[in-house]
């Protein structure tokens, strides 16, 4: 078969399949179709940036299995769109750092408590202030009290959240409630550069900047009472969401391996419609090294969220003057939304190992799946979709439909629609903190501009995004959570 020479150009055709599904028929160098989950109303925005082109570009990569997928929160990213999912076979397929992102294992965890909203009335400001002082956030966030030696850091990279539990941060039972048990197998600290190690050694237990946050909220609405009960979720329940990733260590790993892959892609003769799709065959030495490095960075992020949970627990206990049993802060689930994983999926009726890239997308495995913890075998894997600051978040579960259609994947959150500059402009003359306070939400931001940059209008409405994945059958809505207090990076 003649090798396709050119990347797709010109206005891409979109063929509607149903209310929530749109197909980009293969054209030019595309080896497969693009499949986008979205509604008609979302299309004009999609056509405005280059996300559709990026979906088509991913479809040109060798060894791709199934379609080049896009979740409804899709927006343009580096090479792969954010909200993109693509799986590759291990024989001819590739692995690409751009398909994971700079913030390896940026992810989110949901914690529940035994408390109801009225029990923390009047205490939210104190909680937010104390969280703010206990958890470094913002530009250059570092911990003065936890600077790891390299051997210890390498243990963290190998063991992930299990390392944190070993040190007394949380319970062994927590690990069952983290994707991959909080530890990606095959993590190899020896393929992590010294620079990445140096950046990571005092960043464990920090939030970082951008759209990272810790949010205290409550269960505002329950959509599926049976599922909610099975997940130990009740109306008005006080909850905590932690959103952060692998910090400078992950960013450095990504940058290091983009450079490796730029050279490797050329050497392996892989034609790239976009340099940022740089990749290497999964089974190549470069591919295997990146997998090992990525797993190590992912484990750092799992440990990071586990450590931050510890300080969240300490903060709540301290401010509310409660013991751990009365507080009952427990992990519902922790999911990654920037990751490449080796998973077994059914391809042409047979089980096949694939390298599944999810960049700004969340794993959403169904009931009965062997990788879903025992506790969630009847419900399906919990999925947490954080909204933007000041708006709601959603708790969902994975479905068989997702496994069949999207390699068990769903959206990850509300995508941005406004640039940071535009958001700052829109926020001018307004006191965002006052506006949010007026709606009963306390916010503390580490950076001067960050609150303005994160105004709700800057984001797609997460409710719309969730409506698509629910309507398409990729995930089932369980509950909606509202924020009460937020610390922002």
């Amino acid at each position: 078969m003649a090798k396709p020479k050119t990347s797709p150009r010109g206005e891409l055709q979109l063929r509607q399949i149903d209310d929530y599904r749109w197909e980009i028929p293969p054209v030019g160098a595309m080896r497969t179709r693009g499949l986008i989950f979205a509604t008609q109303e979302m299309l004009p925005d999609l056509r405005q940036d280059q996300s559709l082109q990026q979906v088509a570009n991913v479809a040109t990569l060798p060894g791709i299995e199934g379609p080049s997928l896009a979740m409804p929160d899709i927006h343009w990213g580096y090479g792969f769109p954010i909200g993109g999912v693509a799986a590759f076979n291990l024989e001819e397929g590739v692995i690409s750092p751009g398909g994971v992102g700079y913030d390896i294992n940026c992810g989110v965890r949901l914690l529940r408590t035994k408390l109801s909203r009225p029990e923390i009335t009047g205490r939210v400001e104190a909680l937010v202030d104390t969280l703010f002082s206990n958890i470094p956030s913002g530009v250059g966030s570092r911990r003065r009290d936890l600077k790891l030696t390299y051997p210890t850091l390498k243990e963290v990279l190998r063991l992930g959240a299990a390392w944190a539990v070993k040190q007394g941060f949380g319970e062994p039972d927590d690990l069952a409630h983290i994707e991959a048990g909080g530890q990606i197998p095959g993590a190899d600290p020896e393929v992590i550069s010294d620079k990445a190690l140096e950046r990571g050694r005092d960043q464990l237990g920090t939030l970082g900047s951008g759209n990272h946050f810790v949010e205290i909220g409550y269960v505002a609405e329950i959509f599926d009472p049976e599922l909610a009960r099975a997940l130990n979720i009740f109306p008005d329940q006080v909850t905590v969401i932690i959103h952060t990733g692998s910090r400078g260590l992950g960013h450095q790993v990504c940058d290091d391996y983009i450079r490796v892959m730029l050279a490797a892609a050329a050497r392996y003769g892989i034609e790239l419609p976009d340099r940022q799709l740089c990749c290497a065959p999964v089974k190549s030495p470069e591919g295997q090294e990146y997998l090992g490095a990525m797993a190590a960075a992912a484990n750092f992020a799992f440990a990071n969220r586990q450590l931050i949970t510890h300080w969240v627990r300490e903060t709540l206990m301290q401010v509310l003057r409660l013991g751990p049993r009365d507080l009952g802060l427990d992990l519902v689930y922790d999911v990654a939304h920037n990751m490449a994983k080796i998973e077994t999926h059914t391809v042409a009726g047979k089980p096949k190992k694939l390298c599944v890239h999810r960049k700004g997308a969340t794993r959403a495995f169904p009931p009965g799946h062997p990788d879903v913890p025992r506790l969630y075998q009847t419900t399906g894997q919990p999925v947490l979709i954080p909204g933007d600051m000041g708006r709601y978040s959603y708790l969902l579960v994975g479905t068989p439909q997702a496994l069949e259609e999207t390699f068990g994947s769903t959206c990850h959150g509300a995508g941005r629609v406004m640039s940071r500059q535009a958001a700052i402009k829109a926020a001018r003359g307004r006191s965002i903190i006052q506006e949010l306070a007026g709606r009963g939400i306390v916010v503390r931001g580490a950076g001067k501009a960050t609150i303005a940059e994160e105004i709700p209008e800057a984001y797609k409405d997460v409710e719309q995004v969730v409506r698509v994945v629910h309507g398409a059958g990729l995930s089932r809505k369980v509950a909606r959570l509202h924020p009460l207090g937020v610390i922002k990076g």
């Binding site: 940036d49 927006h75 343009w76 580096y78 090479g79 954010i82 700079y102 913030d103 913002g138 530009v139 250059g140 966030s141 620079k195 140096e198 950046r199 960043q203 970082g208 900047s209 951008g210 759209n211 400078g248 960013h251 450095q252 990504c254 940058d255 983009i258 450079r259 730029l262 050279a263 340099r275 940022q276 995508g415 941005r416 629609v417 406004m418 640039s419 940071r420 500059q421 535009a422 580490a446 950076g447 001067k448 501009a449 960050t450 940059e453 990076g489």
Partner: protein, 147 residues
């Protein structure tokens, strides 16, 4: 700030919109000038540069396959320096710049919450829409930072 010429973009840092992240078009008379503007744009995202003092000295060396990659590598090296020491450069001197190698000296200080304003963190300089080109009036580059 001198103008590049009628109908041309002024020399300097020109931010442009890119949904979640920070894009910059940098216009200078010389190629080293572009690299200096890039560093200033990077630091400007993270802090108010006016409050930085030129107290301490650091040296940086970067290698890359080509000039555009060198620009990315330069900014990521500055990010590494900031992430590990808190250092931000106020005055920047490019000592050597070939298509594959850069050496620079910076005078600046470590960021301090008591004296400096903390804005937005930067994850990395990316290859997205990356370009470095020579123009009739000098040099122009575009680069996008992942926030």
């Amino acid at each position: 700030m001198d103008t590049a010429g009628a109908g041309q973009t002024k020399y300097g840092i020109h931010p442009f919109s890119h949904t979640g992240d920070a894009g910059f078009r940098l216009v200078a008379k010389t190629l080293p000038g572009v690299f200096i503007l890039a560093a200033q744009a990077l630091y400007g995202v993270m802090t108010d540069r006016r409050r930085l003092r030129a107290r301490d000295r650091r040296e940086v060396a970067v290698e890359a396959p080509d000039t555009a990659s060198l620009l990315v590598g330069w900014l990521n090296e500055l990010l590494f320096l900031f992430d590990t020491t808190g250092f931000m450069g106020k005055e920047i001197t490019i000592q050597e710049l070939t298509p594959q190698r850069l050496r620079a000296a910076l005078r600046g200080e470590d960021l301090n919450p008591e004296r400096h304003i903390y804005k937005t963190g930067v994850k990395a300089a990316t290859y997205h829409h990356l370009s470095v080109t020579q123009t009739p009036s000098g040099w122009e580059a575009t680069i996008i930072l992942d926030l």
